[in-house]
Homo-oligomer: 306 residues x 2
């Protein structure tokens, strides 16, 4: 059983009560509380899967653990007045003392940067790989959040930043696109959004499956990162393949009416680059038009834990 | 550095915003949301620390992971209209399929029993001990929750159930005392409460430290479990020592005015046994009066993960 099929199986076992207006299956869950709404997301990172002690400092590990959850809140549009986090940490006994403190400092650093209050947690020892779970939640006056399921035929597909090769460093020090998400949802009519954690093609596929749509991407428009190019020199994959399939870029992938997309390209609403990469179609599946104008079917693969 | 000193160090780094009316350091954190309040608790269980695959079925592991968080909500008085849970699971690749499904069924079983909606989660593989983090939160119309810090001089100290030897099985199949907590807070004036996860003396000490008080316990009143007696035949510890120091009984330990304690003993408000075991004193520390009438100083030790 693969990770996604386990998650799909679980989702079928659940019958969310009516106040859960965003059930499991989006970047965060949403619960109505009186005239407010709560968004909550929980994320797990594990040593030797999501980081190694050889490449990452404890500060970076702590930073990443919370940054990925903030990125999930961003993917919902980020319309929360205030954010909070609780976290659990499983540490080897030989890593307590300085390591544990540095880990916390990394968590605190990213939390402070985005005004996220750390309000609780739990610690345990483990005789094996260390792991951290962060649960970020936020309260919002309105319940208008951006779902994966809102993509419409003829929507433009846009992405922030550049993609691929995150493993060379970005996955440990990326800045969650929370401010960008807030700007986008405030000024433009965003129909659907996700953060790129599994890889561009896999995450686009999450949007398409939930929205019951398809997509056409233009190769020449995809913002391939320098890291993707660097990585492609080391392995047999092209830089484009890295941009399409590498996970953990934590950029925003979103769809919106074409005229709003043009406005974004003209406005340049924030410092981060933003690219128009394709169009939502009625016919399901992902087609990539390569530089020679040839249609290529994209297999929406991404990182699967199992 | 010990577990508690790491947690204490972390708590000193935090400056909770004013709407966080119960900061880190209680069984759950509390956040005001308009005229409602949110309680949230997060708990981590790790293979070979909190369970072994030899003794526990995957169903029991899933059950325990959520039961301990429900127990934390109970320790706050359980005054939540509705409870929700998000969870993360780190699994070895050879354990997916049937194991993963049974794990989820255990989670679902305890969640359904207490009307807790499972609304989200995350999974990862791990090359080592498996672990589960459950984060349970609830919404309440009022913000009257029972704190660790409310114990008053001359309060009676009471405990539900019987104590010690949980490792023989209770730690995997206990029923969180949520209904009992709700009954207690509805009918009696509970001043302070905690659930026994670290052990009677350690958890009583948590109440005493937060309340800046001391306690006197009477040996003959402490409800020593059959498991504690059984265990004491195997090792050098007395059954009383097991009752005082064994963790994971997940019973409620609480303090209240003496006349309310008498009423509870007369009323028998629920099926679970409830015992008066001592009195809160001004002078700090824990004194145990043994069966010969001798005063013994109790070292508040309990389970420490590091």
């Amino acid at each position: 059983m693969k990770e996604f099929s386990y998650i799909n199986w679980i989702q079928k076992q659940l019958t969310p009560p009516k106040e859960v207006f965003i059930p499991s299956g989006d970047d965060a869950a949403g619960v109505r509380i009186g005239n407010k709404s709560l968004l909550i997301t929980t994320d797990l990172i594990v040593e030797n899967i999501d980081f190694t002690l050889k490449e990452a400092t404890p500060f970076q590990i702590g930073y990443k653990s919370i940054a990925i959850s903030i990125s999930d809140i961003a993917a919902m549009g980020g319309n929360c007045n205030k954010l909070y986090v609780v976290a659990t940490v499983a540490l080897r006994k030989n890593l307590v003392r300085q390591f544990a403190k540095e880990l916390f400092r990394g968590m605190k650093h990213i939390a402070d940067k985005f005004n996220v209050s750390i309000i609780g947690g739990d610690v345990s020892s483990v005789k094996g790989p260390i792991s951290i779970t962060s649960t970020v939640f936020g309260i919002s006056d309105k319940s208008e959040h951006i779902r994966r399921s809102g993509a419409c035929v003829r929507d433009a597909i846009m992405v922030t930043g550049s993609l691929g090769g995150s493993i060379l460093g970005k996955h440990l020090n990326f800045t969650p696109r929370l401010n960008e998400a807030r700007m986008l949802t405030k000024k433009y009519s965003i129909h659907s959004m996700i953060d790129i954690s599994d890889g561009l093609s896999a995450d686009l596929n999450h949007i398409l499956e939930r929205s019951k749509k398809g997509a056409v991407l233009l190769e020449q428009l995809i913002p391939v990162s320098d890291s993707a190019k660097k990585l492609s020199k080391r392995d047999k994959k092209s830089a484009l393949e890295h941009a399409l399939t590498d996970g953990e870029d934590f950029e925003l992938l979103f769809t919106l009416p074409l005229n709003h997309a043009w406005r974004i390209l003209q406005d340049k609403p924030f410092a981060a680059p933003v690219s128009l990469i394709g169009i939502i179609k009625k016919k399901q599946g992902i087609i990539l038009i390569n530089k020679k104008g040839k249609n290529i079917k994209v297999n929406p693969k991404g990182f699967d834990h199992f």
